[in-house]
């Protein structure tokens, strides 16, 4: 590094390379993304939000909700399962014997212990989980063999991971989910729960509004700050306002007053209930991927 030019050139090349890799390439790859199709359906994904929900995204941004909430489900992997739904004409004992004989097939041998083992105590009640593992090939082969002898089975793809076990979502979030968000606010801290699937967990707009006004009135252990400034407290007129919040005693304003959400609060609630990531996509498949055979 003898001259200013060589320092400049080194810095230029270093930052230029990462610009190409982490700015230009993602724009080329993802910048032209269009709606995709939901797996095994003709529905488009994602759907454009309603007007109120689109404005609600801006309320979410203005109040920096993303400081404490993520909108992103993580998943560790998928498990393929095969369950028996109908034994057909067979009896459970015969079926067990058939399965034992089937285990001689070389491809099925490696999971013979788990399958035969699971059938030991089985009395013939359906549905019965027969196989669960990471190889999808095993499921389809086993399904085909059983279909040939008239046994009906159901194959499923199930997602795994702590977020999914918590009920925060059905599958991992993928790039397509954020197509209509500007700005995209993924969040980087879970001081509060993830919201990617909130619209499915808590679809009631009134619940959302009440939760925004007084979080602890609906969730006792909540640490969320109240957003009272999104509501107006006013005197009850000749008749109570139809959209006044139905609050419990401890959280209600003094008698003769009612709490009415402002337009911003309603938009935010519309946005929160519009947050759904509950359909299977090509890059994030989950049950049901194959119909009953």
């Amino acid at each position: 590094m003898k001259t200013g030019f060589s320092v400049f050139a080194a810095a230029f090349i270093a930052l230029g390379l990462s610009w190409c890799g982490l700015v230009y390439a993602p724009i080329q790859q993802l910048g032209g993304t269009k709606q995709t199709v939901v797996l095994q359906s003709s529905d488009k994904w994602p759907m454009q939000r309603t007007g109120d929900a689109t404005l609600g995204l801006q309320v979410y941004r203005a109040n920096a909700c993303a400081a404490c909430h993520t909108v992103q489900i993580r998943q560790t992997g998928v498990v393929h399962t095969l369950s028996i739904t109908d034994l057909g004409v067979h009896k459970a004992v015969d079926f067990k014997a058939f399965m034992t004989s089937l285990m001689a097939v070389p491809e099925l041998m490696k999971c013979s212990n788990s399958i035969v083992g699971s059938l030991n105590q089985w009395n013939g009640s359906v549905p019965k989980l027969l196989f669960s593992g990471e190889e999808s090939a095993m499921v389809s082969m086993l399904g085909d063999k059983l279909k040939a002898v008239g046994v009906k089975t159901e194959a499923r793809v199930e997602t795994t991971g702590a977020d999914i076990a918590r009920g925060w979502g059905l599958r991992q979030s993928v790039a397509a989910d954020y197509l209509y968000d500007t700005p995209v606010q993924l969040g980087s801290l879970r001081a509060g729960p993830d919201l990617a699937n909130l619209g499915v967990r808590a679809p009631d707009v009134n619940w959302q509004l009440q939760h925004l006004y007084a979080p602890r009135s609906v969730v006792k252990s909540s640490t969320m700050p109240a957003f009272r400034y999104l509501f107006s407290v006013r005197k009850v007129g000749a008749q109570p306002a139809p959209d006044a919040l139905a609050l419990s005693k401890a959280f209600a304003p003094s008698a003769g007053f009612e709490v009415v959400p402002t337009a911003e609060a309603r938009q935010l609630a519309a946005y929160l209930t519009s947050l759904k990531a509950n359909v299977p996509l090509y890059e994030a498949p989950f049950t049901p991927i194959t119909a009953t055979k």
Partner: protein, 478 residues
Amino acid sequence: MNPTENNTVCPNELDASCRVPLLALFGGAAMWLVLSLALGLAAVMTFHQPDLFADCSFLTYGRAQAAANDLLLYGFTIPAALGVMLWIFSRLSQAPLALPMVPVVAANLWHLGVLIGTVAILIGESTGHPWLEYPRAAAVLLFAAFMLIAVTAVATFGARLNRELYPSHWFLFAALLWFAWSYSTANLFLVSHQPPRGVVQAVIGWWLANNLLFVWLALVGIGIAFYFLPKIAGQPLASSGYTLFGFLTLMFFGTWCGIPQGAPVPAWLPTVSAFGALLSVIPVIALGIVAKKTVCGAKVSCLGGTFCFMKFGVLSFVVSSLLYVSEFCPRYSRVLDFTWFNFGVTQWQLLGFATMILCGAIYEILPRVMARDLPFPKLAKLNFFLIAGGTLLFVIPLLIGGLEQGIKLRGANIPFADASAVALKFLRISTTGQLLVLLGALCLLLNVLVMTMQWKLGLVKSVIAAVTAPLKTPEVKS
């Protein structure tokens, strides 16, 4: 190799040329630092008393925290670093600051931009992209101001008497390009009428955050530390070769970090980041070794002096960078992502590393450029202990709490409220640290402000003296 300043020019002359620009940069920076820490403290109060700001929209947690973060980076770190950079360039060049009025104008533009941006965040007009919350009006001002200061810096750099470059030159010169490019790119793409579609926005945001918080801070902080450490220790910089190696690897590898491992983007992006993060360990260790060897055996007592600030800063650089890099290890990120851990690491980078080194440099530079002693030298020493202790007390509970929170979040059977509660316990401890850091920042502000007042009073006095001085009446020859 020591900074080769073969006193051909009187240092007083160099320092005097930096006086007004540096006062403009440091004065505002010190004020923003205090405001940032105060806002951060106000923000965290929400976790002590959730309904504290329920009726006050502009202090709601998300807004106050975003404003505090941006004030720390854009309000304090960057202008302070630019001021120190100008002075170091002038010293290394043995030339007075070129175009000294330009950085004065730029400093005021910069502070105006920060003011606009902060107000915008607090009234809910932020852009929504982390570390890029300032809206367009503020971003344009900041960029223009930066480019003006860069012009002065480059002109001073070009006027150097000794053509050979010192390692600090490399780091600081590269930092000029680094900020200009990454900040303009991010703004042009994200704060425009037609931002790229979908999740690309987040990718560009992460790229910017990494380039500012990891690479830029490292370039500036290490560049400054490698100027002061050899001077104060009275020993040459340990190894120019190692430093060059660290400099190049920092730029080429460090810039690839930034994409979180669980991000909903094509898998190659996080993978590249993980690889970049792994390789970034090399420059961090290399630069740490150079600093260690440079100060090793130096017989300088420090007791809260600039030497202490610098040593603590470099140590923080090594530790916080290693923690930062570990966030991108896929195995750890599954636990650490979405917890207070990442917040803690960022605060360590900004407070323990950047703020520490900059405060040390300001205390060293100010008395020289003002040609007078610090008004409160004891507060300067106290500043070191308050910020060092405060940062550790602030950050370490967040790291431990974040780790516990992450482990609990991984267990699907543990209720979410339990995971939050354990993190909250640690967060509340860390507030004490935040308070200490704020007190430390007040020491800096007091020193800078009083010094500015004294200087201004001096100016006024000299003007009054000039006006009231008896006019010399020419002798009349009779």
